[in-house]
Each structure stands twice: as C-alpha cells, then as structure tokens.
C-alpha cells in the first residue's frame, strides 16, 4: 500500500477519499483553491497545498499544479475523485510521466471509453447490447425498413448533432415520412448536414447502472446495480439498490455483460456501466464511467465493501480478494442534498451554511463536507452531501430515509431536502414504478415543485 497519496479534488469526495486513506494508514495530501482554505478536507488532511485562485480552470483543473503538488510533497499516487480531472486521459498520462500512480484505469482505456462511438464499437464486439437501430446514416427507405425491424416508437437523430436538434420521436409508421423530412431540414439548418440515423425509442426508460471493480489481472467483481431514474434535468437526485425494476435473470444478464466488457476492454479499477432499461426488461449500454461515482455508497451499503479502499488496493497492484458477484444484503437509498433554491427553479444557491444538524441513529450515513459556518462557493457544484440509509427491506429503508430527512436541518442556504421528502412519499416511488420522466410528469403534484 502507498505511504502518501494526493487527493486531487475538493468538497465531499475529497473528504470521502481522505477517510479511506486514513483508515488504511496512508497519509493524505489535500489541495485547495483560495476560496476553499477553510474547507473540511483541508483540515482533515495531513498536509494541504494551495493550488490557485477559485476558478477551477486555474486550480482544480490545472494539471501542472496538481502534479507539482504531488511530486513536491512526496506522494506516490493521486486519487482524482469525480468531476474535475477524473476522466481526463491527459492527467492520467501526466501522472505516469511523473512517476505517480493514478488511482483509476489506464489513459488508453479512459480515452477509448470517453469516445462514444469507439466505446459502442467495443461494447458491441463484447456482445453488450446497444440500443437497436441503424449503424450510421440512413435514407428514408432504409429508415422505414429499420423502424419495422426494431419496432415503433423510434427516434430519428442527426448524425452531426446533439442537444435535441434534428431529433424526432416517431410513434407510428404513418408519421415517419413527415418526421424524416422535418428532422433532416432541422439538422441541415443546425449543423449544415441533414443526415439522420434511427434508434429504437426506449420509453418509459429507467436508468440502471452496474458497479464493477477490476484488478487488471483478470479479476472482475460486480457489485450489482444502482437504480438512478429519479432525475431532474438529467441530474440524479435519488439512487437505490437493488432496483425495484429488476428480476434475478435480468440482473445477472446485466452483471455478466459488464463483466464481459471489463475483460474485453482490459479495464482496471472501479467503473460504472450505465444502461437504459426498457419496460420489457431489455437493457442497452449507454456509457462506461471510468471513475468513482457520486452514488457509490449505495453499493457499499448493500455489499459491505469500501469502494475507495478497493480502488487503492487495485492501484497498488494487488489482486481482488473476491471476484464474480459480490454478495449483498438489504436495501440502500441515497438522497442527494443540493444547495438549490426551490423558489427559483432550483437554481444553485451558494452561500454560508449557518447551521447543519446531521441526521444520526441506526442505518444512517451522511457523506458531506459541510459544517456549521461552511461556505458553499459559487465556483463549484451545488452538492452539499448525500444522505445514505440502509435497512433490511425497501419499505423500511424508505421509512428510515424519511425519518433521517426529518432530522436533517440545513440553515443558511435552501436545499433539495423537501423535494426528496415529496418523492419518497409519492405513490410512484413507494410502488417502485417510476421512470426517468417521473419528476417532469409529477410536476405540480409534488408540493416542493408546486412552490417553485
């Protein structure tokens, strides 16, 4: 194991990584921008280096400053956390060039999986299901044929595009001709290229992801799924494991696909395979996140494993102690607590947290960097922390989460706490029948959203 590791991040994840380092008797070196001088991670670390002014581009994203902070303090390894440089292959290479172990996959795998086209090619080769559709640009006749083959509804998407431009949902064959024409015109206007491709529309879809650990020596451990369909503007709000939508057969098929892909692409360290899950339990690869994820504690609670500790062991060259499927027990829920203003369309609302009362008691974990008087700077994301609960069953876990959210007090900045309470109390959540469209569809039925 390493003697000293640089934590190349801030806030909640920096605190999380420092905790794992200290439990393994490893010294932690923190970095901070001038606005984070008094932040918790700076005080928990054994040493802290100021790396720049508040703007992330001049501090947490400046590769030379982070590498210099690591080399001048005698660190052997760098943990990137999530966000900032965690999925930047240039940072991985800069670490290698300076004899620093990067806690994560190789730069090569990271770059390949960061390229969506390349990632899908490799997943297809590994027999991981992709959303069915045409392999590339398609004319109207080919589109009609492909739509009949994959089944309606289908999505027409601009080959050159993104952001919804040149995209059309087609529910039935008689809509296809008109939709193709307008989507192509829109794509031409937006991107100077009217070519389209076609995909099966997965609706209603759920976002279900598989957590993996790979040691790079042939050992792969899958830790089951996290259900992440409670989202607001593509931002996850509540995650749980196990997913109420999976049966044993589908779960095993998804874990086997992720395991296969890890072997095929030569993956190492912690990673998350994101899938879309259709109403018929078909699942399709979206992307592989080559890093620790915000919602990792959900998997830790049901498996009893410490993912950051495992990351460190793998980075130090040790093989995984167990491979295959990690054993699991009970049900875990995570609720993200963001500094956002419900009265202002959930805009980030930085400021000073005058008082924090953390929820305590059985089965409760709070991963946060916030204390009484903490500043939430406007320069970074609005995540204050995550409340994670575990209990024997899903209904008990929901009851425990509601009890803990009732204890939680955050004064000084508005938060998403009330919205989370509304979601947990909703019929859809308690029945487990919800999809990624839930918050949009529920709208004014949820008191916290009605007030916004």
């Amino acid at each position: 194991m390493f003697k000293r590791v640089l934590v190349a991040n801030r806030g909640e994840v920096a605190v999380r990584v420092i905790r794992a380092l200290h439990e393994n008797d490893v010294e932690a070196v923190a970095v901070y921008s001038t606005v984070d001088r008094d932040s918790l991670h700076v005080r928990l670390a054994d040493r802290a280096i100021c790396i720049g002014p508040p703007q992330a581009s001049e501090s947490y994203l400046r590769i030379p400053s982070l590498v210099a902070a690591a080399t001048t303090t005698g660190c052997e390894a760098v943990h990137p956390g999530w966000g900032f440089l965690a999925e930047n292959p240039a940072f991985v290479e800069a670490c290698a060039d300076n004899d620093l172990v990067f806690v994560g996959p190789s730069a090569d795998v990271m770059a390949r999986m960061g390229d969506k086209v390349q990632a899908k090619l490799e997943m297809k080769a590994a027999d991981v299901p992709l959303v069915p559709g045409t392999e590339g640009t398609t004319d109207l006749d080919e589109a009609r044929e492909a739509a009949n083959e994959v089944g309606y509804p289908v999505l027409l998407k601009a080959t050159a595009g993104g952001g919804g431009k040149g995209m059309r949902l087609v529910r039935a064959p008689d809509e296809l001709d008109a939709a193709y024409g307008t989507a192509s015109l829109e794509a031409e206007a937006a991107f100077g290229d009217g070519s389209l491709y076609l995909e099966k529309a997965i609706s209603p879809a759920r976002h279900v992801e598989i957590q993996v650990l790979a040691d790079g020596q042939g050992g792969v451990l899958t830790l089951g799924e996290r259900e992440c369909s409670i989202q607001r503007r593509h931002q996850k709000l509540i995650e749980e494991s196990p997913s109420p939508a999976l049966d044993e057969e589908t779960r095993e098929a998804m874990e086997a696909a992720a395991e296969r892909a890890c072997h095929a692409i030569g993956y190492r360290n912690a990673g998350t395979f994101e899938f879309l899950l259709g109403p018929d339990r078909s699942f399709y690869f979206i992307e592989l996140n080559t890093r620790l994820q915000v919602e990792h504690p959900v998997s830790e609670m049901v498996t009893g494993l410490d993912l950051v500790r495992e990351q460190l062991h793998v980075a130090a060259g040790e093989p995984l102690a167990r491979t295959g499927r990690a054993s699991r027990r009970g049900h875990a829920l995570e609720i993200r607590i963001n500094a956002e203003d419900p009265a202002n369309d959930f805009a980030p609302s930085p400021g000073r947290v005058s008082r924090l009362r953390p929820p305590l008691g059985p089965g409760v974990r709070l991963d946060s960097y916030v204390e009484d008087g903490s500043q939430v700077p406007p320069h970074y994301d609005s995540l204050l922390g995550k409340l994670i609960v575990w209990d024997e069953s899903r209904p008990e876990a929901i009851a425990r989460a509601l009890r803990a959210l009732g204890e939680l007090r955050v004064e000084g900045v508005p938060t998403t706490r009330e919205l989370a309470i509304d979601v947990l109390r909703s019929e859809e959540f308690s029945s487990g029948r919800y999809s990624t469209g839930f918050l949009e569809e529920a709208g004014a039925r949820l008191p916290a959203l009605a007030r916004s």
Partner: protein, 125 residues
C-alpha cells in the same frame, strides 16, 4: 505524452495574476497591497519548485539589496518540468527572499519583498 501549459509573460506577473477580480466571489481575497513598511510582496502564482538561478551553478537572478527593473526575472518556478519565469512587475530593491533554492512553494506563498523605487530609468544600476 507531456502536458505543458504555455503562459504569456503577462500571466506570469504575480501582482497581476493575484489582482484579477473574481466576480461574485463571496469571500474576496485581500489584494496584494504594500505592507506597512511600504514593501511590495511578490507571491507565487502557481505551485512548483522555486529556483533562484537558471540552472545549477549559475549565478542567482537576484540577491538581497539588488535593484531590479520592471520585467526583470526574479526566480523560476518549475511545475511538471516546465520552467516558469517570475518577473518583477515594477522596479524595486530586493529587501528579502523568503524561500530557499529548490524548495517547493504553493500558490500565493510569499517569495520576495521589494522596496518600490521611482519609475525613472534605472540606468545607474
């Protein structure tokens, strides 16, 4: 692959770098102002290793008591094998050097204190 950053001389002016306003920042950093003794503080604009000379064995860029012109190199900060020259923003007399050769420094660390001198040409030096 080596990652390098190219900085313009302007970006390397420590006083300038430290004085870029941060709009909306709740916790304004104090501007570098001359201390009570009237000296100007030169602070590290980046993390790196402090070098007083261009290479081992070469004479130091500056010594205490020496008068420097605006734009004159005071030291080098090395980060990832990239040598960044730190220059004086305005003319002055080097009154103190706060870091030893080859020691690591962090962002904002005090490197030099300069006693300002008039803006006249320093052709007497």
């Amino acid at each position: 692959m080596r990652v390098s950053v190219r900085r313009t001389p302007e970006q390397l002016e420590p006083q300038l770098a430290a004085s870029i306003p941060q709009p909306g920042e709740p916790d304004e950093e104090p501007m570098p102002v001359p201390a009570l003794d009237g000296f100007t503080r030169v602070e590290a604009p980046m993390v790196g290793v402090f070098y007083r000379a261009s290479q081992p064995g070469a004479p130091p860029f500056v010594e205490e008591g020496e008068t420097v012109a605006a734009g004159q190199t005071l030291c080098i900060l090395e980060a990832m094998k990239l040598m960044n020259e730190i220059k004086a923003e305005s003319p002055g007399i080097v009154r103190s050097i706060h870091v030893g050769n080859a020691e690591p420094v962090e962002f904002g660390q005090l490197l030099f204190e300069l006693e300002p001198v008039g803006p006249q040409p320093l052709d007497a030096v």
